[in-house]
């Protein structure tokens, strides 16, 4: 037996354990998927009936009568805008911070400190502010609110990536004839692109899933998916089949996004671990 090679029974047990752990985490999701694909009556059956005909009627209902397409658009606009703005502003401010002489520890800690405030504490003051400037029930209100917690996190996350890019590269490019903007776009940006992609994905996920601010700041016109899903719990009970269908729809973009950019995400999260 070669060094490091396991006996067959050990490999079997290992895989069995892995399958069980994976099932433990996947089971709720699989159950949601199953519930979304059966009729409403079957969804409420206890004990559950496993011999059912699969149907897309919940999805059709969610997308047509519940205006889910509209909420999808709201969520997409708000999440994308918050992500783009936080990554653009975050990338620039984080680059500046990273290139200052000294560690700028005070400034960095101040940025991190904003992440220590529970979001719920900020909801009321931000709501008051938004109403006072007449932005209530608008995409802009949500985007601005999301920026308050996305931007500090993006700055903090990108700082780590910038710090891994040697300053000598900035200096070499300055001598080669680059302005600060050219150095940023031609030299530094390509090097931290994987990190920026990872940060953008994270920012998008946070915005897409955000609930508390969306609940308070959005109205009928700007309702996002998490709020719309929560609204399926009515005074007549939980519309479980529609709720499961809308949950699957909410997850779908994240799954597609993640599989597309998996390569960048892994690169970004491991950036700098090996020189």
């Amino acid at each position: 037996m070669r060094l490091g090679q396991r006996p067959a029974y050990q490999t079997f047990l290992l895989y069995l354990a892995l399958v069980l752990v994976t099932l433990f985490f996947l089971l709720p999701l699989l159950w949601i998927l199953r519930t979304s694909l059966i009729t409403k009556a079957q969804a409420y059956q206890i004990p559950p009936n496993f011999h059912v005909q699969l149907t897309l009627e919940n999805y059709i209902e969610v997308l047509t009568t519940n205006k889910f397409a509209r909420y999808y658009l709201n969520s997409a606009i708000v999440s994308l805008s918050a992500t783009v703005l936080s990554v653009v502003f975050g990338a620039m401010s984080s680059y500046w911070l990273s290139r200052q002489p000294g560690n700028m520890t005070g400034a960095k800690l101040a940025i991190l400190a904003t992440q220590m405030i529970p979001p719920i504490v900020l909801v009321i003051p931000i709501n008051t502010l938004i109403r006072s400037v007449g932005l209530n029930d608008s995409w802009m209100a949500l985007v601005l609110a999301y920026l308050t917690f996305n931007l500090p996190y993006v700055i903090w996350m990108l700082l780590g990536f910038y710090d891994n890019v040697p300053r000598e590269l900035d200096e070499a490019s300055a001598i080669d004839g680059c302005s600060t903007m050219q150095t940023f776009f031609k030299v530094v940006f390509p090097l931290i692109a994987p990190g920026m992609m990872a940060t953008a994905v994270y920012s998008f996920l946070v915005s897409w899933n955000e609930f508390v601010f969306a609940l308070v700041l959005s109205g009928n016109a700007t309702r996002t998916i998490p709020v719309a899903i929560a609204a399926l719990e009515t005074q007549h009970g939980v519309k479980i089949a529609e709720l499961c269908a809308s949950t699957m729809l909410a997850i779908l973009p994240i799954v597609i996004l993640s599989s597309f950019i998996k390569k960048y995400l892994v690169n970004g999260l491991t950036f700098g671990s090996i020189k």
Partner: protein
């Protein structure tokens, strides 16, 4: 090709920067600032370079040399425009450039850690500066291929820097600089990341390159061998001050002070605490019970300068100490280092260490592989090449 003039250049790093480096909780208010090396610390900050004046001629190869923290890299960075100049004036080709950004100075720089753009191929690294200048593609191609030919890196043009060895990366870094045909070529310890063999090879290549591209070079190193072999003139620095400017021959044979005498030369010059004595108008130096008579030239200089008998540090280079059969001073061998063509003997004479270089030709068969520990030898000091340093550490002669 250009002249470079530095007039009374001073660089102060403000305290705020060093405080920031310490972080928020790094230091108490009343704590003394940390003293790095022996740099002067003033109210404004740490003085990294001061009273630096130097005229560099067109096409001259100047080497700034000194121990870590002496201000040589700071000086180079000020010339490059990467660090601001606190005081003084810097002229490149007669133009005051204190406030000109790096790209306006027409300089190229080779960094210690190469600073190649990792996402670009070798070709793109070399072409980058030319593309920024919006040079026609055909001309860029010609220049890059020409430089690659000179540096023997043509076959690597399509590779990324990570696929190259240290020596190849350094060639690319040099190539990136030469394609621009700059007025001044700056090099910041370009060979210090290479192994000894490659360093020797690259050193001779830099010499060849210099003959080929014939421009003004300013080269920073802490390696005195590089300084001696490459420079037309050497600037030796310590604690932010220039110690001596001179040709390799001058700094080696006529060191201005004790620091230069000790810094230049391997193994280091031997120093002895003794006195300059005068008897009947004849000056001599007593050492280990013997008397070193000064030669006529030395006596003449002492008279001209009105030097009085005084406590001195006597300096003798290891190659000016030889082994003798009779006479001289008795010594005991502590360590014998076989260098191939010569042997470096670390001997102890009355408790003091004396280093001697013995040429391989002088070694008899019994000492072909060096000397054994504790072996007794007799040393002869050549009085024609003595260096006498006064109490202020300055060379008296």
């Amino acid at each position: 090709m250009a002249t470079v003039q530095l007039k009374n250049i001073k660089k102060i790093y403000p305290h705020s920067e060093s405080k920031q480096k310490k972080g928020l909780f790094g230091k108490k208010k009343d704590e003394e600032p940390e003293k790095k090396h022996n740099l002067q610390i003033t109210a404004e900050g740490t003085v990294a370079v001061q009273q630096f004046s130097l005229d560099i001629a067109d096409k001259e190869f100047i080497v700034l040399v000194g121990p870590s923290g002496c201000g040589k890299s700071t000086t180079l960075r000020m010339i490059a425009g990467l660090d601001t100049i606190t005081e003084g004036e810097l002229y490149i080709d007669g133009r005051l450039v204190n406030d000109v950004p790096p790209k306006g100075r027409d300089i190229a720089m080779v960094f210690q850690n190469y600073a190649l753009y990792p996402h670009m191929s070798v070709y793109d690294n070399m072409a980058f500066a030319l593309k920024l200048r919006k040079m026609p593609k055909a001309e860029i191609d010609r220049k890059v291929r020409e430089a690659a030919e000179i540096l023997d890196i043509t076959e690597y043009l399509d590779r990324k820097p990570k696929a190259l060895s240290g020596g190849q990366r350094q060639r690319v870094a040099i190539g990136r600089a030469i394609v621009r045909e700059p007025q001044v070529f700056l090099m910041d310890e370009p060979l210090s990341n290479l192994d000894a063999k490659l360093r020797n090879q690259m050193r001779s290549e830099i010499l060849k390159l210099r003959q080929r591209i014939d421009t003004t070079f300013i080269y920073v190193t802490h390696d005195q061998t590089e300084a001696m072999t490459l420079g037309d003139r050497i600037v030796i620095m310590r604690d932010g001050f220039i110690q001596q400017i001179g040709t390799p021959h001058e700094v080696y044979n006529h060191p201005h002070n004790l620091f230069v005498a000790g810094f230049i030369g391997t193994p280091q010059m031997n120093f002895f605490q003794t006195r300059l004595e005068c008897e009947n108008g004849e000056f001599y130096v007593p050492l280990y019970g013997t008397r070193f008579e000064l030669n006529e030239k030395q006596k003449q200089m002492i008279k001209e300068r009105g030097i009085e008998p005084q406590e001195i540090t006597l300096g003798i280079r290891p190659e000016h100490v030889s082994l003798c059969k009779e006479g001289g001073v008795e010594a005991e061998v502590d360590v014998s280092e076989m260098m191939g063509s010569s042997v470096h003997l670390h001997c102890s004479v009355q408790g003091e260490e004396v280093v001697v270089i013995v040429s391989g030709l002088e070694l008899g068969e019994e000492h072909a592989s060096g000397f054994s520990h504790g072996e007794k030898v007799r040393l002869h000091f050549d009085s024609n090449v003595l260096h006498l340093f006064g109490a202020d550490e300055v060379n008296l002669l």
